[in-house]
């Protein structure tokens, strides 16, 4: 019996070692894949820059789009926007720069390009509510982590002294109150962030805004490329959007969200 116990113990030890080995191999592969991933992204990015410099804008845009598809990056999207602008596609350019600001709200290049594009194309910025404006202060995922951290920090500051049989100090309660306040603010910012995911931009020039989601639908008005709109619902190949000028249906191919679903 005792020999059997010792055998089992040895087997457990061996299995643990094997798992450890598997973990090391997996981690190595993961990091190797990540390096390969980044290399592929850089290849497309470099190719896009070269094509843009050569004046081959459609091909350059395709290369930047491929790079962005593999891994969205602020610089890639800035370059994609510049290339689309040079091709004469104001809507796609503004969308790319808005996506840049979605990833990195502090990207000065995208901000300047957006300002320039809107001055040239005569289109407005998307109107944001106060909680949506607050959500632009930090990258989207930062709000997520900040909300989680502040909540559990508040909970921890309240609960952990009891668990560890320590007296609740004043600073701990202050910390809990501050963390909880931060959590409440982060909640509104997160709500604004989710609300901003419904904002998109018109891609094509003179895109018809239709009364009904049909091919022969009555045209309410035509929209300028780069005009912001909020997606309300979809039906078939059409999206119901709300713009500054009114509401109506637009073809899905003529409208794209900043944060694609």
């Amino acid at each position: 019996m005792s020999h059997l116990r010792f055998t089992i113990y040895d087997l457990r030890f061996c299995r643990t070692a094997r798992r450890l080995g598997y973990g090391i191999v997996f981690a190595a592969l993961f990091f190797a894949g990540g390096i390969g991933h980044a290399a592929a992204t850089n290849d497309w990015f470099t190719q896009g820059v070269e094509l843009n410099c050569a004046g081959q804008f459609p091909e350059a845009a395709a290369a930047f789009a491929q790079s962005e598809k593999i891994q969205p990056a602020a610089g890639t999207l800035v370059n994609l926007g510049i290339t689309e602008w040079q091709r004469g596609r104001a809507g796609a350019a503004i969308l790319a720069w808005e996506q840049t600001r979605w990833i990195d709200p502090f990207d000065a290049r995208a901000e300047a390009d957006l300002k320039f594009a809107r001055a040239v194309a005569q289109v407005e910025e998307p109107p944001l509510k106060w909680f949506e404006t607050a959500s632009t202060w930090l990258p989207p995922n930062a709000w997520f982590w900040l909300a989680g951290a502040s909540l559990w920090l508040a909970v921890g500051a309240l609960v952990l002294p009891g668990i560890f049989r320590r007296r609740k100090a004043g600073w701990q309660q202050t910390l809990a109150a501050l963390a909880f306040g931060l959590f409440l603010f982060c909640l509104t910012a997160n709500f604004g962030l989710v609300s901003r995911t419904q904002i998109g931009f018109v891609l094509t020039k003179n895109a018809p805004l239709l009364l009904t989601p049909t091919r022969e639908g009555e045209v309410i008005t035509t929209l300028t490329a780069g005009e912001p709109a909020r997606q309300v619902r979809t039906r078939g190949d059409y999206v119901f959007i709300r713009t500054l000028g009114g509401s109506g249906w637009i073809e899905q191919s003529q409208f794209r969200l900043v944060c694609p679903k």
């Binding site: 992204t41 820059v49 969205p72 610089g75 091709r87 001055a119 989207p140 909970v155 668990i163 191919s253």
Partner: protein, 621 residues
Amino acid sequence: MKIPQPPTANAKRRAPAGGRIFFRWRLLAAGWLCSAGVFTLLLQAQVPPQVSPEAAAQMIMRPQTPVDNSQSANLVATAEFDPPAVRPGEKTTYRVTINATQNSIRWPDEISLPAGLSLGPSARGQLTQPDGTPFRPLTEFVYEVTPTAAGRMVMTNFSVPIGWQTVEIPAATLDVAETNAASPAARKITLEVSETNLFFGQPFRVRVIFPATAGNQLEALRDVQFNGGGFLTDKLSVRQAIEPVGQGDKLVPAFTYETIATPLAAGPQTMSAQGFTVPPFSAGPLTITARTGPVMLGGAASGRPIFLVSDAVHLNVRPLPEETAPAGFTGALGKFLADKPQLSTNRVHVGEPLHLRYGFHGDGDLTRFVPPATPRSRDWQIIADPPPATGFTLIPQTDEATNTPAIPFSAFDPATASYVDLTIPPLPVTVIGDGLPVQLPVLDDEGKTTAPLKLSGLAPAPGKTAASLRPLQLRGGFVIVQLLPVLGFVALWQWDRRRRFLEAHPEIVRRRQARRGLRREKRFLQKAAAAGEAAAFVAHAAEAMRVAVAPHFPANPHALVCGDVLAQLNDAERNGRAAETVRTIFAAADARFALAPETQADLLALPAAVEAVLLTLEEKL
């Protein structure tokens, strides 16, 4: 060619103003028909020219002379057998003529016949006769009658309601006798169709032939109708001509009425034609010397129109195999060929239109040709040319377009009973995108140009990256990530709860520690036994026993002696081998305190007994 001009009543008297105009019109028509008749005698049938929808609408919407349907008091009905004398079994026609519109006559569904007559197919038709202004209606009912016995058959008179009046149809008499001379061949019309085995929607030619009489006297047909519900005849493709047709082994001049019909129902169909005889010229009979002999136009033997009905033609209309219909099928049937499409240019800027011209030709019916439907394309705005032009205006929407869009089109070839793909293929084009300005001057308050606002340069590196543009809040793992801290707090709570429990029950901790110590001592014990080290074996065995019984007192294991271990054994064990093993081990262990410690090597033979004692003690923990 000398054309005799016999004096006519119209020529003798001076006609009123309206009559003069009508007379001139008739003269013009006579001249046109004469020329047409002469020239078409030796010509083959030609495909009718294409008529544009606007011209067709004008033709259809031309104002017509009104028809007098005022139901005048002098309604007249006539009835007769044509011919009135036949042999038994010889067909004749029972003909009733009423000068009223067909819709106003409530004709009985069945008429009573005298014995000895059998009724065949019937037909009815309406003619509007020019009688100054307005036209006068004339309706005729015909029945095919076959006498089965000889005798004098009398079709009695009967009444028919017409509007609010009642008109009496007079009696008609038919002499049936074997001695009757063979009646001359009845005037009849023949219906010819180009095909009898058709597909649904397949246009086919129908021709009504009205041959000249034995004396080459030729008459025309008016108000020609085709009976049978499953067809649509094309009024715009009607062609009337006087031409030679084969009758037996010889050519005879005949009036022909030709048009195009389209089957609108699948399955077996029956078709017949009917019409009224009219002289081709009102000016009088004209005699033309043609290759087939002298032909007399007009001056018909009968002074009034005669209603004629052709024999029925049976057709088989097959449905189209719709399940295999390719994209772009708009209903075109026939043998079509596509011309090579032509582009106005192959290099355009975004938003600049170019024109694509295509053409189809063949032996199909082009009057009902439906051009290819305008396809939808993300890269192109496509505008079809208004008919009858064939082409598309294409406007590129993006510089990504490298080809014009393929425009699907197909036709059904009845000869092979299969669809033929006639898709207009994509043609290569170069679309140039027009860039937007990259620099914008900014003006100050005084309107002077200051530093230009310009587009930034390209980013040298990808920069800050993100796994996805989709925020974590909207991903599926959001809930799981939020649950992780919850799980941590639950674990902490469980740990604290267990800690409090163990504080309330310290014996559990002692027993657990004892079990852990016992396992440790057992390992040392087995190593010592394997190494043959008797002293170590005894020491670890004694220590294991102390550790195993310590929680029962509770006490520190080092404070326990042999008696304490024996006290934990039951009576049977205390008097048995287990107690002896305990005493032996403790005696040997205590021997180390002797002046001359001596360990018996035979103690190494006790592992099994020691193991049994330890197992007994472990079970009590």
